[in-house]
């Protein structure tokens, strides 16, 4: 299965089930949950279904493009369903079939795996979904986001795109996955994941492990924080403030990958990000309560499936 084919099938599938198809958010982040479409979308009462691909950066997992199983940056297919549907597990299983997995021949299990994102003030309970012994999806019922109880509760489904592709193709190296075929007048050229991304993996790993200026990163961390609070406490802008929090989070991850954050400092640093994201969440809900955004908040026109 080509990467792009898998993404297209999943997008088609979820669009057909009533999800908006979103786009990646154009800032570095560690997981699809941090995209405002999920972070703010999971807050408040209005129905909200959205699906999108999110490139997710984990500086610590960088391996210079040399490890066949690990990446600095991987692709997540993120689905958020609010409120969580009664048939959410069945929907998910149908999505596997849409990917081309014939479940009559595989072993599928949902094993407990609870999720927590301390920088987002968020946690939930759920499972890691295991297909023939491999974790292919993270499945979470959000209980809190931005320090607020989720009412209603959203279901979040996160597919690891590269892993699923490798697994379905029986490949032992991420970089051997085919991204897609380039068809030209000169012929058809299958392009590998490695051709598209391996050099990037090398440079980004080298940046976080070897070249990043730690002093600069500490300065940036503090500067982003200051900027964010100015935005929140001044004009009350939670979206631009939230962007600063995302930048803080990534800056922290770079520092962490270098071992520059001691275990004793760590909780304090995480709290600085969390205080900000939680303040953004509160500001968003206050704003939404004034009825200024979202035309769909006024009940929507419910159409039976």
């Amino acid at each position: 299965m080509h990467i792009q084919e898998l993404i297209l099938r999943l997008q088609r599938f979820w669009a057909d089930r009533g999800c908006l198809i979103g786009q990646p958010y154009d800032l570095e982040k560690g997981a699809g949950t941090m995209n405002p479409l999920t972070f703010f979308g999971a807050l408040g009462e209005q129905p909200w279904n959205v699906a999108y691909v999110e490139p997710s950066r984990r500086p610590k997992d960088g391996r210079y493009g040399e490890n066949p199983f690990r990446l600095y940056k991987h692709l997540q297919m993120q689905v958020l369903l609010k409120p969580s549907p009664a048939r959410v597990q069945e929907l998910y299983i149908e999505s596997l079939e849409a990917m081309g997995v014939d479940l009559r021949k595989h072993d599928l299990r949902f094993e407990e795996d609870n999720w927590e994102a301390p920088t987002l003030g968020a946690w939930g309970v759920g499972w890691q979904v295991m297909l023939d012994g491999m974790e292919i999806t993270q499945f979470t019922y959000f209980q809190q986001v931005g320090g607020m109880d989720c009412r209603p509760v959203s279901a979040e489904i996160t597919y690891g795109i590269e892993r699923i592709c490798m697994f379905l193709g029986g490949l032992d190296n991420i970089f051997d996955i085919t991204w897609g075929d380039v068809k030209t007048d000169e012929g058809v050229f299958p392009i590998s994941y490695g051709a598209v991304r391996q050099r990037e993996e090398y440079e980004l790993s080298a940046y976080s492990f070897d070249h990043a200026d730690l002093e600069l990163h500490w300065q940036m961390f503090t500067a982003f924080e200051k900027e964010a609070w100015l935005l929140l406490t001044g004009p009350g802008h939670f979206l631009s403030a939230y962007e600063q929090a995302l930048k803080m989070s990534h800056t922290f991850n770079v520092l962490d990958a270098r071992g520059a954050v001691s275990t004793t400092e760590r909780p304090g640093i995480i709290k600085r990000v969390r205080d900000l994201t939680c303040a953004c969440a509160r500001a968003y809900l206050e704003h939404a309560a004034q009825g200024a955004v979202r035309p769909e908040a006024d009940g929507g026109k419910a159409v039976s499936a």
């Binding site: 066949p68 094993e111 499972w127 012994g133 491999m134």
Partner: protein, 684 residues
């Protein structure tokens, strides 16, 4: 007599909650049956990843009638002089809905005069109606440790409830929970429903297991575990070996599948160069898989794990698990190779930034303390003190290796393995490898002496250090598992037969952390003494000594564990001897007599007059000189009869002050001799 079946069908319930929830509900149901139906019945429990179910047989169709006696005003107020009902009397009858002719007058205990009484018969209600009320209440009353909400509901449970099945014989017990109505149908295995879209009907409670098995679910946990165990045995034998047994892993596998099947997979032989512990841990933690070993305990390049379906038609399950395991082992080998690029002890510097405990400093600091302690204890035990220091030096370095970062449970084991491969002296790598032992109450203690010393030093430093800064276990609070560490210390001393006073060595450990202590030393020492006394008492219990033996032996001193063990063995050997009851009696009498007396230790035996006391006095020197607990105890047993005759014949507190003093001294010395073995006053 009726049968009840209840099944809660959820989205996948975390394995670790299945047994506790199942047990708690069964207890709640039994308590209710006792209370409301006056019947004691066993509750059969079933659970699988998506199901919690219970069945009870032998329920009455109706609740038994209950009589209630209602007491009213005094007779004189209910009946007038002519014997007719007064207004008060009629009111009382009316209140309970009976005619006045049904009111009796009795004088219940505690009342001064006869009062009006009616006996109400509360008709028992149909069991089905009662169940419909109580079952949802029992479910919502379950203690769910990590409860969740879902959708728009405020209802909380362990995972979303998607179906309820509840039958009393052939009838549905009607109730509703969070919008789900109980019925006679349920869901089978997801695989089964690919060809059978509808729910599965269950005809009656007794058909439950059969109906579900036909739908691909083996709903009894023990049955799944049994089937898995059988397959593990067959498949490992076919592979030419046996599984590396792990009861916990087997139970986990039985908890996470609805239909139990073992799948065998292979991994490349080249991974066998990894230490066995790494392979076993990696397979277990990452893939919930068993290793297979040959008769010599050497691993074979294959693994066994469970699948949640009856077969593997296209081999996808085998190849999928193999694929994941290859990735994991690839990682493990990467860690193993990377870690060995630098000698283990060169990581000392890194230990400086690894916090052991905020107030107690880094693992570097801890290592320095352990080394000093280990040296002192090795010397005290007649081992080479330099060796004691040597083995401690790099014992914590593996905490900053990649492998231990990935598998914390391999701490110590990896350090030992890396040192072995660096050609360290066997006594060093063995000691490092063993120094976290015993890891549980059942697990072994370090086999080597230096390993035992190092294990003691490490644990003593942890316990004494924490006590010194006020972290002391209380009740159920013991976040740093200090009790387990303390138990390990006592067990090592006890089983090694080492004559080291736990309080004294803890005091030695306390010296090492003195500069960081926040509590006064005397207070910490007192707390440590109480702590170790409890640990020693528990150790005697674990060792299987009877209560009387433990109490009597402990009271006669507990800090010399070798001596304590000798005394317990001797006492246990004499436990059946009838003379001990008499001896215990006499010992109690002696204690009572001596209670408020100031007694001199020395006395002149010539002062004594009665033959009975002279006989005792003659035996005293031999008793006091006897160094052996076994024969001392035999001698004490022989004293039972002479003591009895002594008490029968002699009045201790006589008029003559000198004779009285001599007798008291004799008893005092006798008690002292007893107390070398046991306090017989506690022999009961």
């Amino acid at each position: 007599m009726s049968r009840l079946l209840l099944e809660i069908h959820c989205e996948e319930i975390p394995a670790r909650f299945l047994a506790p929830l199942s047990g708690e509900f069964a207890e709640g149901l039994q308590a209710w049956l006792r209370d409301q139906l006056k019947i004691e019945l066993p509750v059969a429990r079933f659970y699988s990843p998506r199901k919690l179910a219970w069945r009870v047989e032998g329920l009455p169709l109706e609740q038994p009638d209950q009589t209630e006696v209602q007491v009213g005003p005094p007779q004189r107020m209910c009946v007038d002089a002519a014997g007719a009902a007064t207004e008060t009397g009629l009111k009382f009858a009316g209140k309970w809905g009976v005619g006045f002719d049904q009111v009796r007058f009795e004088q219940p205990a505690g009342k001064k005069e006869p009062v009006a009484v009616v006996t109400m018969i509360k008709r028992g209600r149909p069991t089905r109606d009662l169940l419909a009320e109580i079952l949802p209440a029992l479910i919502t009353g379950l203690h769910v440790p990590r409860a969740m909400r879902w959708g728009r509901s405020e209802f909380e449970f362990v995972r979303p409830i998607r179906n309820l099945l509840c039958l009393l014989d052939g009838d549905v017990v009607p109730f509703e929970l969070d919008g789900v109505t109980a019925g006679r149908e349920t869901w089978g295995h997801r695989l089964f429903h690919m060809d059978h879209p509808g729910k599965v009907a269950v005809a009656g409670p007794e058909d439950y297991e059969r109906a579900l098995e036909a739908a691909g679910v083996v709903v009894a946990f023990a049955e799944r575990r049994e089937r898995l165990a059988r397959q593990l045995e067959t498949l490992s034998a076919a592979a030419g070996g046996r599984v590396v047994a792990d009861a916990e892993l087997l139970a986990t596998l039985a908890e996470i599948v609805e239909y139990p099947t073992i799948v065998k997979g292979d991994f490349p032989e080249s991974f066998l160069e990894l230490p066995k512990e790494v392979l076993v841990t990696s397979l277990k933690e990452h893939q919930k898989a068993f290793c297979v070993e040959d008769a010599q305990g050497v691993l074979l390049p294959c693994f066994l794990t469970a699948a949640n379906r009856p077969d593997d038609p296209d081999g996808f399950i085998k190849s999928g698990n193999e694929w994941v395991l290859r990735a994991r082992l690839y990682d493990a080998r990467f860690f193993f190779d990377e870690d060995r690029r630098q000698p283990l002890k060169e990581r000392m510097e890194k230990l400086k930034s690894l916090t052991f405990q905020r107030e107690l400093g880094s693992y570097f600091d801890k290592t320095q303390r352990i080394a000093a302690l280990s040296e002192a204890m090795a010397s005290a035990l007649g081992l080479d003190g330099t060796d004691g220091r040597l083995v401690a030096q790099s014992c914590k370095c593996d905490l900053v290796t990649l492998m231990v970062g990935e598998f914390p449970e391999l701490q110590g084991i990896m350090g030992g393995e890396y040192l072995r491969r660096e050609n360290a002296h066997p006594k060093v790598w063995q000691a490092v490898k063993e120094h976290y032992q015993p890891v549980s109450a059942e697990a072994p203690i370090p086999a080597t002496n230096l390993g035992g010393v190092l294990a003691l030093a490490d644990k003593l430093d942890t316990v004494a250090g924490c006590f010194a800064i006020g972290i002391i276990p209380t009740g159920s609070k013991d976040p740093l598992a200090l009790r387990r560490a303390g138990q390990g210390i006592v067990r090592i001393l006890f089983e090694k037969g080492w004559n080291l006073n736990p309080v004294r060595v803890a005091a030695l450990a306390l010296d090492g952390v003195e500069a960081k202590a926040t509590k006064p030393r005397a207070e910490t020492l007192a707390a440590l003494e109480a702590f170790f006394r409890d640990r020693v008492a528990f150790q005697l219990e674990l060792a299987g000594y009877a209560g009387a033996v433990r109490r009597a032996a402990l009271a006669a001193g507990w800090t010399d564990l070798v001596d304590l063990k000798g005394r317990c063995d001797a006492l246990a050997g004499f436990g059946e001897d009838p003379r001990f009851a008499s001896l215990a009696q006499s010992a109690k009498r002696i204690s009572n007599i001596l209670k408020d007396e100031t007694v001199a230790e020395d006395f002149d035996p010539a002062r004594l007059v009665e033959p009975q006391e002279l006989a005792l006095a003659r035996q005293l020197p031999a008793l006091e000189a006897n160094p052996d607990h076994g024969s001392l105890l035999a001698a004490l047993a022989d004293l039972a009869e002479p003591l009895e005759s002594f008490f029968n014949a002699v009045m201790v507190k006589c008029e003559d002050p000198e004779l009285r003093a001599a007798r008291l001294s004799l008893l005092f010395r006798l008690r002292k001799a007893f107390l070398r073995v046991a306090d017989f006053g506690l022999w009961q």
